[in-house]
């Protein structure tokens, strides 16, 4: 009996240690980063309202890219426990987006929370200074066990190199060269309005379903949430306002860090001040003033936390040819033919 118990314990110990060994932090980060971009790719493809011909041409270009870029991650690798649930939620989202089906509220909430969890996990592993500028994720994100979670404030030059390293991590060196080469062809496939959409696009997981602005094209603009906050701020009585103001500003740091894992104290202070200014203005406005300024104030709140997406010369190609995109186009074309048949 004792021998059997000992043998069982040993088996469990070996299994646990082998499981721990299987978690490769670098691979986990790469997988989560890829999945985020892959879902953003699905959203932008859905939102561009591509014609059959455009989708077919982009699929051919995506295949050219896939021939030289690294294989997309398997999305089945062992994950640290804090990221495992995140990946599960995102993988549940993916087939619904591919089929163009509505996202249940419960899943949407879970995905939103999981994004904050993922961001927090990544932020907590940041080094204050990159160990090296290369495509190894661990150069900037140390393993969770030894992490201290320091804010990172790279200079503009280092930031650019880090952006490049992130891109190279997905596309590989040869893929990046191919991206430059295919960029004119991608631009040529797109119409002017589609190029305009891509110019303002930033990564997003759950696109809004809104009629108020049908051109939001897979983009989580979410000014409604900021507007809702401003309406609550206006409805608050003078007696409770200082408490509410403090409560909101206290959480601006939390959201800033969730959106920008590397945000330092200065960046957080700027965000807090901008939000405070918008909140105070919203309280001071008359009804008429507020209704006429509400969009600008909502945008101010949102942009204080989420910086406006940058515009690069090859941004469209980056989002449209992410390795694995050919399967997204295939799925889109299948859906298009079904809809046409109806």
């Amino acid at each position: 009996m004792a021998r059997a118990l000992l043998s069982g314990c040993l088996t469990l110990a070996v299994a646990a240690s082998s499981l721990a060994a299987q978690v490769n932090w670098d691979a986990s980060l790469r997988e989560m980063g890829y999945l985020f971009l892959h879902i953003s790719n699905i959203n932008v493809v859905n939102g561009l309202n591509l014609t059959k011909e455009q989708a077919a041409r982009l699929m051919a270009l995506a295949r050219q890219m896939e021939a030289v870029a690294p294989e997309p991650p398997s999305l089945r690798a062992a994950m640290p426990p804090e990221l495992d649930g995140v990946r599960t939620a995102w993988l549940e989202l993916r087939p619904l987006l591919l089929k163009g089906e509505p996202i249940p509220k419960e899943l949407e909430d879970r995905v939103t929370l999981s994004r904050a969890t993922e961001s927090k996990a990544i932020r907590s592993t940041l080094r204050s200074v990159p160990a090296a500028i290369n495509t190894d994720c661990v150069s900037c994100h140390m393993a969770p066990a030894s992490a201290q979670g320091q804010p990172m404030s790279p200079g503009p030059g280092t930031k650019r190199l880090m952006d490049l390293a992130h891109m190279e991590g997905i596309y590989g060196k040869r893929g990046l060269w191919k991206l430059l080469q295919l960029s004119p062809q991608v631009e040529e496939v797109l119409t002017e309005p589609q190029r305009a959409i891509l110019g303002g696009f930033a990564c997003c997981l759950v696109p809004p379903q809104s009629l108020s602005d049908p051109v939001r094209a897979g983009q989580a603009e979410a000014p409604e949430k900021a507007l809702d906050l401003l309406r609550r701020v206006r409805a608050c009585s003078d007696a409770f306002w200082p408490m509410m103001r403090e409560g909101i500003l206290g959480h601006v740091d939390f959201f800033t860090a969730a959106v920008s894992p590397g945000a330092d104290a200065a960046r957080k202070a700027v965000a807090r001040d901008a939000v405070a200014k918008a909140l105070d203005r919203a309280r001071k406005c008359s009804d008429v003033e507020f209704e006429m300024e509400k969009d600008a104030l909502s945008k101010a709140v949102k942009q204080a936390i989420v910086p406006a997406p940058g515009e690069g010369p090859h941004k469209a190609t980056f989002f449209l040819l992410i390795p694995g995109a050919s399967r997204v186009y295939a799925s889109y074309l299948k859906r298009l033919s079904t809809t046409k048949a109806e």
Binding site: L48, N49, E82, L113, A116, T117, K120, S124, T191, E192, P193, Q194, A196, I197, L211, D213, P214, V215, A217, L229, R232, A235, C236, S237, A239, F240, M243, M244, E246, G247, I248, G250, H251, F254, S286, D287, V288, E289, E291, M292, D295, T339, K340, E342
Partner: protein, 373 residues
């Protein structure tokens, strides 16, 4: 941060956002703005038995004392027809003018949208039912200062005012006054209407309007009776003709609902009627249906249906047919009817590029109809 810390953080945020205002509300009465007393309406006849006959829209309602009209705006109070919520809009917004939809009016400019609660129709798919299907007493209305709103509009270089979102004719008395004041300040005034109105009030309203968008929702009485809440669509056509005869700018729109008003025949009937009675230069907007209000059981209008409708419109001889609520799409652009080149490129309601030169195509110098400056 572990899961527990995260949840605790979220809970604290919840308290800040939810509980504090709730406590504040508990301590104070709910804020519904200033509730003004109802004001006497125009366009009605008092009957000897104390009832009144409303003459605003083709419903011709006879209301006994205490009864409210279908519009939920006008009530018989002791033998007088009174309007609720006068001068208390529930929506005030700065919108792109293309949202109305008005594609041949001041492209790319903003308009000050104003809406009071209420509508005389009951479209089962209404996109603004939260306001249109309510009495102004039940919506949260604004403390509206007309001079402040118009002054701010002028300061912000907003060039027009539009009565939209709900049916602007149900508050015709106040809206006429607001429109006149706006025009005095140099703003243009537009109305987005269902066109279900009697000729006399429409004629009065047109005196202070620069243009109108009318929704021709279908082309059969059956559709209007089952889905719209009106006996016939004929009064809508009469309104369109009256607006055209009055020399005001007119655009028409049709929201295409799958299996209800999307047959080739019905769409061709609308297009042919518009061309014959309003002219081939009348812009026709084909709007995509999205399940809303009481019509949640139907799918969104397929893109192919909208494209088919666009072809039907063009084949009927209409020179400006647009696709709305679907973007990006080539049907968003304004194309020169002569050379076919896009002269105003749009992304939904947003103007990306306006190549028109003094209302003319820059490529072939053809003049395009509209209010361009």
């Amino acid at each position: 941060m572990n899961r527990r810390d995260f949840l605790a953080e979220m809970a604290r945020l919840g308290i800040a956002l939810e509980v504090a205002p709730a406590l504040a509300h508990a301590a104070m009465p709910p804020d519904r703005g200033v509730v003004l007393p109802p004001a006497e309406a125009e366009y009605y006849v008092r009957n000897p038995d104390g009832s009144v006959t409303c003459g605003l829209c083709p419903h011709h309602e006879i209301l006994k004392p205490g009864e409210m009209g279908r519009c939920r705006v006008r009530t018989n109070l002791r033998g007088r027809l009174m309007t609720h919520g006068v001068g208390q809009p529930c929506v005030l917004n700065v919108d792109p003018i293309e949202k109305n939809p008005l594609n041949h009016v001041l492209p790319g400019e903003s308009t000050l949208s104003v809406a009071h609660a209420g509508c005389n129709l009951r479209c089962q798919y209404c996109q603004n039912w939260q306001f249109s299907q309510e009495c102004p007493r039940d919506t949260r209305n604004l403390r509206f200062d007309q001079a402040e709103a118009l002054g701010l509009a002028r300061d912000k270089d907003i060039k027009s005012l539009t009565f939209t979102y709900t049916e602007g004719t149900t508050h015709i008395e106040f809206n006429k006054r607001l429109a006149a004041a706006a025009r005095k300040l140099g703003l243009r005034v537009f109305l987005c209407s269902n066109g279900y109105i009697q000729p006399k009030p429409l004629a009065d309203f047109l005196e202070v309007l620069d243009g109108v968008t009318v929704t021709i929702k279908g082309f059969t009485d059956d559709f209007y009776q089952t889905c719209i809440g009106a006996r016939s669509f004929r009064p809508v056509l009469d309104s369109c003709q009256q607006i055209r005869k009055a020399g005001r700018w007119l655009e028409v729109a049709t929201l295409i609902v799958p299996a209800l008003n999307d047959s080739d025949r019905e769409l061709a009937d609308i297009a042919r009627w518009v061309k014959a009675n309003l002219g081939p230069d009348t812009p026709w907007h084909l709007e995509r249906f999205t399940p809303k209000f009481k019509m949640l059981n139907r799918p969104q209008t397929p893109q192919a249906t909208l494209e088919k409708a666009m072809k039907i419109g063009r084949s009927a001889g209409l020179r400006f047919v647009y696709i709305s609520n679907l973007a990006p799409h080539d049907g968003n652009h304004t194309c020169c009817p002569r050379c076919g080149k896009p002269v105003i490129r749009r992304l939904g309601f947003k103007v990306l590029k306006n190549d028109l030169r003094a209302g003319r195509c820059p490529f072939c110098r053809t003049a395009l109809p509209g209010i361009w400056a």
